[in-house]
Point group: C2
């Protein structure tokens, strides 16, 4: 159970696979969880990996397939005929996983695989699920669930459950529906276990059930499950009929993906990439922001170009260009990160924008005073140039205030315009603040050098 | 059930509270989930909020208390006597929540509240839980669970479960233990429901149970539950005795916190802050990185100072300082973000450091060629200065390669030194790359201007 995936273990496994020693390979894999086998997969050649997966019993092989990275699964399935995909894998999966796997196939292969599925009900469930948007509750849900009628008694309920439970890995809740399949409430296994045989379902179920509709956005689903500490969430259609259920493990992936996307956006990486992706893909994901940064740099160069004479006369002005630019960028990113997180966790909901701006201004004033004070002291004692000392420290102060306000306002504006505010952090705000910050710096320089020299 | 927390609703509630109209307030709150009431809490004065919470029945009031932000809970509890805290709140909580709440109290109040808990078993559980580190499995777990002996039959098991289930909100799994309380396996409710009355537990339980020890780090707990799609995870002591269990909802909070911390670190914010914190706290959280940035800027100023004459002769060199600095920063952050995420999601586990570095070098070469090519074209057509054109584009190319390698290496080195690699992204790497990038830039300038002028 607790076999560690050491390099040694992988090497041992690799030699067993290369020798095509079936029984030794199966022995080694027996103690491993499908998620562990999926992790080993990326260390094997496609040929070896295919051999390995087809060696496993179909139940376990299907679980491994579900755990693979999308691109690994794609290359693996490309080599297999449609009937093998259907009978060895899809037939053994829960409907949501099956729909995810089939959804990634090419259009014609998708149809072929669907036609090869033996279980007509499973095929129908998959077709239903494929019709929903991937990022909606419908796209996240599975069709398998335990459904009981409110008018049943406890013994009927248990008998029906036994029948329905065959398709399910695990039961967490039982859903109570009307004759028309409208969701009425949930029945916990605890309540069922504690009830006497003569009890009717309608007397023990809990009508306070939270549900979402098939078109609810997946991030909203995650927010609801997280806020209300739910393990499973039922999904209905627009008139309340029970269509499926979403389990927390699928939502944990949504939460993780969302957090990773925000982090990547803040770091200037556009599409979702993994370290295992190809260099070309990794490069493409980064170029857009870098090109924006390059254009921003060219604009900044033009802005500074307006002050060419000032630099020729006082070249020491150039020394502090990076300091001003970096501080403007850092302050801006700090402010926007706080706002982006506030929006994501919804804690801004009831607090007003003005209060937010006011607070950021106070923070910026405090930090600006401290930092420009420190810089003043440094330059005063080490540069012996009063005009430079005053220019650098006063413009740092002004730049910090502006950068904080920009950093706060831009994500709020984007959010109101229904654009993902996470776009605001990272290179975008840095570039904006560089341009603004250096313009302020050289303008200040011209004024203060004019006065003090 | 689906009452929306609109501003109107909050205003209505506020006026009902101000009029101290008990029954109207209770009516309004009846449909709300404790998590919603906790959200309203921050919009009320302490006095009104206290009135509101004490109005609720103890079960619900305790749930609200658990959902409050830490600082809100602290200020609320400060005003209450120890016996009220014990009888109105702690007695109605699950042990893990109770331990969290008590753990945040001042030392002497903690003791008083513990002495006022009526249920001696509950008090004992809390004292046990308080002894664990907050960021360990012991700190996350609750003591309430269903424990059955392997030698029992199904009827005994169900009878015992009914007794034990009283303390529990919900049952997901039943834990099977030996006479010495050593964890042997789990029994799913599904298996129990499908078993006949004559079956023995030892014949139907699943011995393949994953567990952690009380001292396992909470991030490791999150990783395990996420990887293996677990809803509940049992916790044992070092000799395998069952101590408690962790549910996924608590782990979702750990995952969210971890992601937020990484994001904040990358944005140059040190301690965990929320938009609702005070300006002084918000300022303190940001100053450390800003001061590092300031010092970095001063070092950069000294580096550029070495090239004062070059700037005086060719002031146009100064125009592209921000471009070089920004690109070095952006490229470095992109590389480090990919590595930090890889480390966090453990997908780097089996791939070697050298392969990683090699791949980043290829990506950097591709991006470097494209970007410096674009910059070359721009300067060639618009600046009419061959020395500048060559200096800016060749040094951009070199700087991109260096920045990518730094961005990759620094988090890997930090990780090996057991320092959180998320520290590497954000201002730290930006500052390092600024210094390195501008040194390369001016050195290149001196060489190329020497050749071409």
């Amino acid at each position: 159970m607790s076999t560690k995936l050491t390099r040694e273990y992988i090497n041992d496994l690799r030699s067993v696979i290369e020798a095509r020693n079936d029984s030794a390979a199966l022995d080694m894999l027996e103690q491993l969880h499908p998620a562990d086998i999926a992790e080993i997969y990326e260390n094997l050649s496609l040929e070896d990996a295919t051999y390995l997966i087809l060696l496993l019993d179909p139940e376990k092989a299907s679980d491994v397939l579900v755990e693979l990275e999308e691109d690994e699964r794609e290359s693996f399935l490309k080599a297999l005929p449609s009937d093998v995909i259907a009978s060895q894998f899809i037939d053994h999966m829960e409907s949501d996983d099956a729909a995810d796997v089939i959804g990634d196939l090419a259009e014609d292969k998708k149809q072929e695989v669907l036609l090869h599925i033996d279980d007509v009900e499973q095929a129908g469930d998959i077709v239903d699920l494929l019709s929903y948007d991937e990022d909606s509750a419908g796209g996240l849900m599975a069709k398998e669930l335990i459904r009981v009628n409110e008018s049943w008694g406890v013994p009927t309920c248990i008998r029906e459950m036994r029948k329905q439970a065959e398709d399910l890995d695990e039961i967490y809740y039982i859903y109570v529906v009307s004759d028309e399949n409208v969701l009425l409430g949930i029945l916990s296994l605890k309540a069922l276990l504690l009830a006497s045989a003569s009890t009717r379902i309608k007397d023990i179920y809990d009508a306070e059930v939270r549900s979402v509709q098939t078109d609810t956005d997946s991030e909203e689903v995650a927010r609801i499950m997280e806020k209300y500490d739910l393990i499973v969430l039922p999904v209905t259609d627009s008139i309340g009929r029970l269509m499926g259920r979403i389990t927390i493990d699928d939502v944990v992936d949504v939460i993780r993906d969302e957090a990773e996307r925000d982090y990547q956006l803040a770091s200037g990486i556009t599409t979702d990439v993994e370290t295992t992706d190809s260099p070309a893909r990794l490069s493409r994901a980064r170029l857009p922001w870098l090109i924006i940064g390059l254009l921003g740099g060219i604009v900044v160069a033009a802005v500074i170009g307006r002050f060419e004479e000032d630099i020729q006369i006082n070249p020491e002005m150039a020394f502090f260009i990076p300091l001003i630019a970096a501080m403007a960028g850092n302050v801006g990113i700090q402010s926007s990160a706080i706002i982006v997180q506030g929006i994501a966790s919804n804690s801004l909901g009831l607090e007003s924008t003005y209060r937010k701006l006011g607070k950021e201004t106070i923070v910026a004033l405090m930090n600006g005073l401290i930092l420009s004070g420190l810089l003043f002291l440094y330059n005063y004692f080490f540069s012996h140039n009063l005009a430079l000392t005053l220019t650098v420290s006063t413009s740092l102060f002004v730049v910090i205030i502006f950068a904080a306000l920009f950093g706060t306002l831009i994500p709020l504006v984007l959010h109101r315009m229904k654009i993902d505010p996470a776009l605001a952090t990272g290179p975008f705000i840095t570039t904006m603040n560089d341009i603004m910050g250096l313009f302020i710096y050289f303008l200040m320089g011209r004024i203060l050098y004019g006065i003090f020299i």
